[in-house]
């Protein structure tokens, strides 16, 4: 997030796009509600009538994958109504003329046709966002899990910069991270192209610096393979061994039949996880790990806040903290000297040296409330709002984005758009939540939400079994008939391994971020 969670309450307008906030980020939703109680207007763009959408002043039910067109349309309205922040654009940004030219090609009738949202509503949303004193954008995987994911994020940034809604309280471009420490994992370089602190592996100088701290001669400088590329390479025999930590691709990745084929193709598979997940079941070796309550360390949350956690109980059986396993492994490989850590605290001291954003953080300073990066030195109070006076690259760059349709469009054979997501009662692949009796008693099976008119046309009754198929796979599941989803779109939660929505989804990738298009694929729904 460019801004902070509590900061949302100070917004005059909150624009949520692609986030089921009350169900997936309830604590963030509380701040949205606080903003509304303070008089803020709320706009929610989602093809489903989610709980947060019912609270909105304006709900835009756009078709999945049309986000960039919607935002271009809003920007055109803002410019046409002279609501853009000329001073901010002049002093803080570049590329305005180009983007103004691009969005001028998005008149509202055209945008209505692409998105399915009434032109009048798009105009209303644009005016609400553009006229408010401080406007905040919240987004989640509804924006990113597309072949145009990168473009969609750029569109959100464009809208914020156009109206000067960056660097001030109650504003910002705020992605909501879907796991407690996914921000921390990225910060630590669990990505294919960067070392800790987003230092490019291709940057020779940075590589040398980090190699020096780590006590090695050099480090690999080639960009690695992202997860989908990895599965493709494995199935082609180019990857022979795989080591998976804390991830359950056999439920979370698109096109599961292909994932299974890939994981079976490797010669050696290690899975390090708390539970024997669907992925771990395929492994040659499973290393059991400690849970959050059984280890010390830090988590970095969605607002870049680094917080310490403390072991409350000992891990059961042979389970150990991830870092202990890595150290033992390094030792067996003959690199024990480079991994002589006695505690999470000692590791933190090292990562401060490697990660410029964390340089000023000490274990003592993060003990109570944590600190938000960047925190360059020990006197620094942390940063609650990014880009207050300047952007990382100097001027903020407008990236003109043209609308591109999703990789797979509905057609005669597969006439519906399937969009997937999570529900309140389960977490991600269910590896934890489905082992909770209480949560599983709330919802213990998959379902597909379908609009009541669509259901009637197909002769589907509420609760009846339907067969859902795509170009990649098929499954049988229970139909839930509702008016809370637009016609032509169906929704499935992906938590349920025994009826996994990701058997159907497409592994088409965003060309830059290489994120798969989990939010749009074409399916057929038939009465069983």
């Amino acid at each position: 997030m460019t801004n902070s969670v509590s900061d949302i309450a100070e917004a005059d307008c909150v624009f949520i796009i692609g986030s089921n906030t009350t169900e997936q980020h309830p604590i963030v939703a509380r701040r949205v509600i606080a903003a509304c109680e303070n008089g803020a207007r709320l706009i929610v763009a989602d093809p489903r009538d989610t709980q947060i959408a019912t609270m909105a002043d304006l709900h835009l039910s756009h078709r999945p994958g049309t986000d960039a067109a919607l935002i271009n349309g809003m920007m055109k309205v803002i410019i046409d109504n002279n609501l853009h922040d000329k001073e901010f654009i002049k002093s803080r940004t570049e590329g305005f003329d180009e983007i103004a030219g691009t969005v001028s090609n998005y008149p509202l009738d055209k945008v209505e046709e692409i998105t399915g949202v009434a032109a009048a509503d798009i105009e209303k949303a644009a005016l609400m966002y553009g006229r408010a004193g401080a406007s905040s954008i919240l987004f989640c995987l509804g924006i990113t899990q597309h072949t145009t994911g990168t473009d969609n994020v750029k569109s959100c940034a464009n809208l914020a910069m156009l109206t000067g809604n960056i660097g001030k309280p109650g504003t910002g471009v705020n992605p909501l991270r879907g796991q407690n420490n996914v921000q921390g994992a990225c910060d630590m370089g669990c990505l294919v192209n960067v070392f800790p602190g987003y230092q490019a592996v291709t940057d020779k100088e940075k590589r040398a610096n980090i190699a020096g701290i780590w006590g090695v001669e050099d480090l690999p400088g080639e960009i690695g393979l992202t997860i989908i590329e990895l599965m493709n390479a494995a199935s082609q025999g180019k990857i022979r061994g795989m080591y998976i930590i804390g991830e359950n691709p056999m439920v979370s990745d698109p096109d599961l039949n292909h994932v299974k084929e890939a994981l079976k193709a490797v010669d050696f598979l290690v899975v390090q996880d708390m539970f024997l997940t669907e992925t771990a079941e395929l492994a040659d070796v499973v290393l059991p790990v400690a849970s959050w309550a059984e280890k010390d360390g830090t988590f970095t949350n969605t607002e870049r806040r680094v917080q310490s956690i403390h072991k409350a109980i000992e891990p059961p059986g042979e389970a150990r903290a991830d870092w202990e396993i890595m150290c033992l492994l390094a030792d067996r490989m003959g690199y024990g000297d480079l991994f002589r850590f006695g505690s999470a605290n000692e590791i933190f001291d090292e990562l401060r040296k490697v990660t410029p954003q964390y340089a000023g953080m000490t274990y003592e300073a993060i003990a109570h409330d944590g600190l938000q990066w960047p925190c360059p030195d020990e006197k620094h109070p942390g940063t609650s709002i990014l880009h207050a006076t300047t952007f990382a690259r100097g001027l903020g760059k407008f990236h003109a984005v043209e609308y591109k349709p999703p990789a797979e469009q509905p057609d005669e054979e597969y006439p519906f758009i399937l969009t997937t997501g999570r529900i309140l009662f389960h977490f991600h692949t269910g590896s934890m939540s489905r082992r909770s009796e209480m949560l599983d008693s709330e919802v213990n099976e998959a379902f597909i939400e379908i609009n009541s008119e669509d259901a009637q046309k197909l002769g589907i009754k509420n609760g009846s079994m339907v067969e859902v198929s795509s170009r990649r796979g098929r499954l049988n599941t229970k139909a839930v008939i509702t008016d809370r989803i637009i016609r032509g779109v169906v929704f499935m939660p992906f938590h349920f391994a025994e009826c996994a929505a990701n058997v159907l989804t497409s592994a088409a990738l965003d060309p830059i971020a290489k994120i798969p298009e989990l939010k749009v694929c074409a399916v057929r729904v038939e009465v069983k």
Binding site: T22, E23, P26, I27, A29, R30, I33, A34, Q51, T54, M55, A367, H368, D369, I423, L424, F425, M438, S441, E442, V443
Partner: protein, 403 residues
């Protein structure tokens, strides 16, 4: 005997120096432990030195007690629930427990439900005019007081002022009413609370009525309390004087002022709802509950919710499984189960991720029921909750049957 009042202070120099108000409470706890009246002491201490992160601690070493002395206004762990869940209701353990009025009232409500054995508890009550949310207090100290919250070593609420003492010895003071107008100050349930002196405990300790900073005003509220205080005096653990009538009057007057202020807050906070018709009220609350995400936080944090097999859970078939927001029966069943017994601890509202004004609603209904049934929850183990108690004469009425 019950009703006896003392000015008390510790006889020990180390306790006098470290503790607040003469350290009478610390010395009494120490005596209770050393004289084997109890097996352990349950109290609250700062976690890792932070006043804003208080945790319950169970101590068996008398020497550790001194570290827990001093009031923490921003720490209010769920003491009643702690005894029930982690000390097995104190059925097999004698414990001295340091309690605020709402803590002891929750303990009494759980005792009525056979979840805690008060026979084994020695309840050391502390006067309380309110606690503050740690997050709100930190922000208030930073933004309004202009001080670093981590520099605070003592807070005090007295005569409508909030005073904080800092590590460098300086003091900082603000008008409490002004702070509360700005949304700072005490938690809103505390503002509405009329019960400042915990006379339902075994002893009630506070500073009201004392003339200096090194004295605690102690009122004996039970035989157990009487035994503790008398024997502690005999053993030379505390020194006492008898408060004069002026001191007693001052204490009474301060209590009255605090109660009147609470009633004003009740009137103010309840006014919006009281002027609604019943239909309007229903619509209002239905609207509020449309934000509920069925996290069960209110139930899990409620000190008096105790059913092992809860009606609200999906497998009971009363509330439809897997629905968000849950149907209106979800909040209503909870309300029906606790509203006659609510001790206004405010926890349901504290934990609600959607910020629903649950404490306000439950306590308002509780006040209405208190009038109807002439019943105050959490006062006496023998007073049973009116909505779950049927008297013989009621059962004898035509058409009344117990299912």
């Amino acid at each position: 005997m019950k009703g006896d009042m003392y000015f008390a202070r510790s006889s020990r120099q180390d306790i006098l120096e470290r503790a607040e108000c003469g350290g009478a409470v610390t010395s009494l706890l120490k005596f209770a432990l050393e004289s084997k009246r109890v097996d352990a002491v349950l109290t609250v201490e700062p976690k890792d030195g932070s006043r804003f992160d208080g945790i319950p601690v169970l101590l068996t070493e008398p020497a550790r007690l001194i570290e827990t002395s001093g009031a923490l206004h921003c720490a209010y762990p769920n003491i009643a629930r702690f005894i029930k869940e982690y000390l097995d209701g104190a059925f097999d353990l004698k414990v001295a427990v340091v309690v605020k009025p709402c803590d002891v009232r929750a303990i009494i409500e759980l005792a009525k439900r056979r979840q805690i054995n008060t026979e084994n508890l020695l309840l050391i009550g502390l006067n309380c005019v309110g606690t503050m949310s740690p997050a709100v207090a930190r922000k208030m100290f930073e933004d309004d007081f202009g001080i670093n919250p981590d520099d605070v070593i003592e807070e005090d609420i007295e005569d409508g002022k909030l005073t904080v003492r800092l590590v460098d010895g300086t003091e900082n003071q603000r008008d409490l009413a002004e702070l509360e107008e700005k949304g700072y100050g005490r938690r809103d349930n505390c503002r509405r609370c009329e019960i400042n002196i915990p006379l339902m405990a075994d002893i009630a300790c506070g500073k009201w009525g004392t003339a200096d900073k090194n004295t605690t005003f102690v009122e004996v509220c039970s035989e157990k309390g009487d035994d503790l205080v008398n024997e502690a005096i005999k053993a030379g653990c505390i020194e006492v004087e008898t408060p004069d009538s002026e001191a007693i009057e001052i204490r009474k007057e301060k209590d009255k002022v605090a109660r009147e202020l609470a009633l004003k807050w009740q009137e103010r906070d309840f006014a919006t709802f009281k002027q609604m018709t019943l239909d309007e009220r229903f619509d209002y609350w239905s609207g509020e509950f449309s934000r509920c995400i069925k996290c069960y936080g209110c139930r899990d944090e409620c000190p008096i919710c105790y059913c092992k097999d809860c009606y609200l859970e999906a497998d009971r078939g009363l509330v439809r499984a897997g629905e968000v927001p849950p149907e209106i029966m979800f909040p209503f069943v909870r309300l029906a189960h606790v509203m006659d017994s609510c001790v206004n601890c405010g926890r349901c509202q504290d934990v609600c991720p959607m910020g629903l004004p649950l404490a306000c609603m439950t306590f308002m209904l509780n006040r209405e029921l208190a009038d109807i049934f002439d019943y105050e929850p959490g006062m006496d183990v023998n007073d049973l909750p009116p909505l779950r108690t049927a008297f013989n004469e009621e059962l004898a009425m035509e058409g009344v049957e117990l299912r």
